[in-house]
């Protein structure tokens, strides 16, 4: 590009004057708000360290993806955010996770209350063997959110981009839906109790490409109102949907024990254009894992 050889002077030609348009706003110019602050979190199963000392922040109204090879601890890690590891008796968590500044594992924190605020969608769609309506209404009913239930169900199904497809058959069994529809139903079920965060553990890996694409579009829509954390083994999916990406890898111990570690955490753009760690580069370029 040519160098300018003098400092800009007064614009003397109106044809140039009108050109100095305001700059396009930078993509992430808005100040970010931290939802989760993770500090030195390790997870041990029966004394074996499955995940070691993870520290990172997760931001509101963004999609954050965890990627990495099998056994890197990414699913173990996402399960820490809504006390899912507590369901495994031998599991122990070290370190702290602050959720909106409060210790997620502090004394008196109720796991049910946590799971209301931090919902989860799993790999395999798991609708209850009930009607479409009852699936979505289940959470609100259990939690005593019974006012305006019809509207709540409709809102959740609309947000999950499923309403138009099911509005005339709400009484039909949820099991009559296709796999992709069932997964969106599970997302609607999660949205019905108005969570702040949606955790998704491989939400599209059991779906065909078209259904996958719909889930990805849905994530893009939903992040306007929610914070989304997604585990995916599909790197391209992380590239497409995530604002931030964390790459996890596995360290092999002297006695063969495998421990997941966080290698690199950055904007998805950086992870996929110029990662700073060789291990990340090898993984995203397909040379390893």
């Amino acid at each position: 590009m040519s160098e300018t050889e003098s400092a800009p002077v007064k614009i003397v030609d109106v044809s140039l004057d009108r050109l100095l348009q305001p700059e396009r706003s930078a993509r992430s110019s808005v100040a970010r708000e931290t939802v989760f602050q993770v500090k030195g979190v390790s997870v041990l199963y029966a004394g074996n360290r499955a995940l070691d000392a993870v520290t990172l922040d997760i931001y509101r109204n963004e999609v954050t993806a965890f990627i990495g090879p099998s056994g890197c601890g990414k699913s173990t890690f996402i399960r820490c955010f809504n006390h899912m590891n507590a369901l495994i008796p031998s599991a122990r968590i070290e370190g702290t996770i602050l959720f909106n500044g409060e210790d997620l594992y502090g004394p008196g924190v109720d796991a049910v209350e946590v799971r209301k605020l931090i919902g989860m969608v799993f790999q395999k769609p798991n609708p209850f063997p009930k009607s479409i309506f009852d699936n979505v209404a289940f959470g609100p009913r259990v939690l005593g959110m019974k006012d305006g239930l019809n509207e709540r169900v409709e809102r959740a199904l609309s947000q999950a981009a499923l309403w138009e497809e099911v509005k005339d058959r709400l009484k039909s069994s949820a099991l009559s839906l296709s796999g992709g529809q069932q997964q969106r139903l599970c997302i609607a079920r999660c949205l019905a109790v108005e969570p702040e965060v949606i955790l998704m553990d491989e939400p599209a890996s059991a779906l065909d490409p078209i259904a996958t694409s719909r889930i990805e579009e849905l994530m893009h829509q939903l992040k306007k109102d929610y914070t989304i954390v997604v585990v995916t083994h599909n790197m391209q999916q992380a590239a497409r949907v995530a604002d931030m990406t964390a790459f996890f890898s596995v360290n092999q111990g002297a006695e063969g024990q495998r421990t997941g570690v966080l290698v690199e955490y950055d904007t998805t753009h950086t992870i996929f254009t110029q990662p700073s760690d060789k291990r990340t580069e090898d993984y995203v370029t397909g040379r390893f894992g």
Binding site: S15, L16, L19, R24, E217
Partner: protein
């Protein structure tokens, strides 16, 4: 529907369009500076190149991100590659405008040959028209419109050759001869802007047909 991909492609195309508008203004600015022997306006054109460069870099960054994250294929991939080329063509055109502005600053004290100045105005207007045709046919995916650039380019090339003839006839006045040397480069810059417009036309044909071909082959002229 891949909404994010669509949005990013739309943004890239809109930014390329804006870049084209900036180049047209830089071109008009340097032509006016040359015609009016106005060194201040020439300075403006030179400084203004930063605006074009900003658009250039923004498109470059957008393409990098889109390729890394959205894996475009088929017509989407061709569109991204065509934008990558056109971005560079437009940026080069703006650089030629800067060169013309710099040359203008070197010779503004010399009373110009009016016949030559009219020839430059004609060449400049043709270059402007070619940029418009190149950008319009790209945006409308209009291959025959893009192919029409070859005939327009021939007119600029002819004007370039005429200007060289005029300059040879300027005689022995040393100041005028120096001026003439500078003006040969101005003529060459305008002629190159036309070439870049034809190159943009070739990208339009590539985008639409999926096959790249040069409209004219400078090294193997048809006899």
């Amino acid at each position: 529907m891949r909404v994010v991909l669509e949005e990013e492609l739309d943004t890239l195309q809109a930014t390329l369009h804006e870049e084209g508008e900036l180049v047209l203004r830089a071109l008009r600015g340097c032509l006016n500076a040359l015609d009016q022997r106005d060194p201040e306006l020439a300075d403006e054109v030179i400084a203004f190149d930063d605006e074009v460069d900003r658009q250039y870099l923004s498109i470059q960054a957008g393409i990098e991100s889109l390729l890394a994250r959205q894996t475009p294929v088929a017509v989407d991939l061709r569109l991204v590659l065509a934008i990558l080329h056109n971005n560079l063509h437009l940026e080069r055109m703006a650089d030629y405008c800067v060169t013309i502005a710099k040359l203008t600053k070197l010779v503004y004290g010399v009373a110009p040959d009016q016949r030559l100045m009219r020839a430059f105005e004609e060449m400049g207007s043709r270059a402007e028209e070619m940029i418009r045709v190149a950008l319009d046919s790209f945006e409308r995916r209009d291959v025959s419109g893009a192919e029409g650039l070859v005939a327009l380019d021939e007119l600029i090339d002819r004007a370039n050759r005429r200007i060289v003839q005029h300059l040879l006839a300027l005689g022995n006045n040393l100041t005028l001869r120096e001026w003439g040397l500078r003006m040969i480069i101005v003529s060459r810059c305008l002629e190159r802007i036309g070439d870049h417009a034809v190159d943009i036309g070739e990208q339009t044909a590539y985008l639409v047909t999926g096959e790249f071909r040069e409209f004219t082959d400078a090294s193997h002229r048809a006899s």
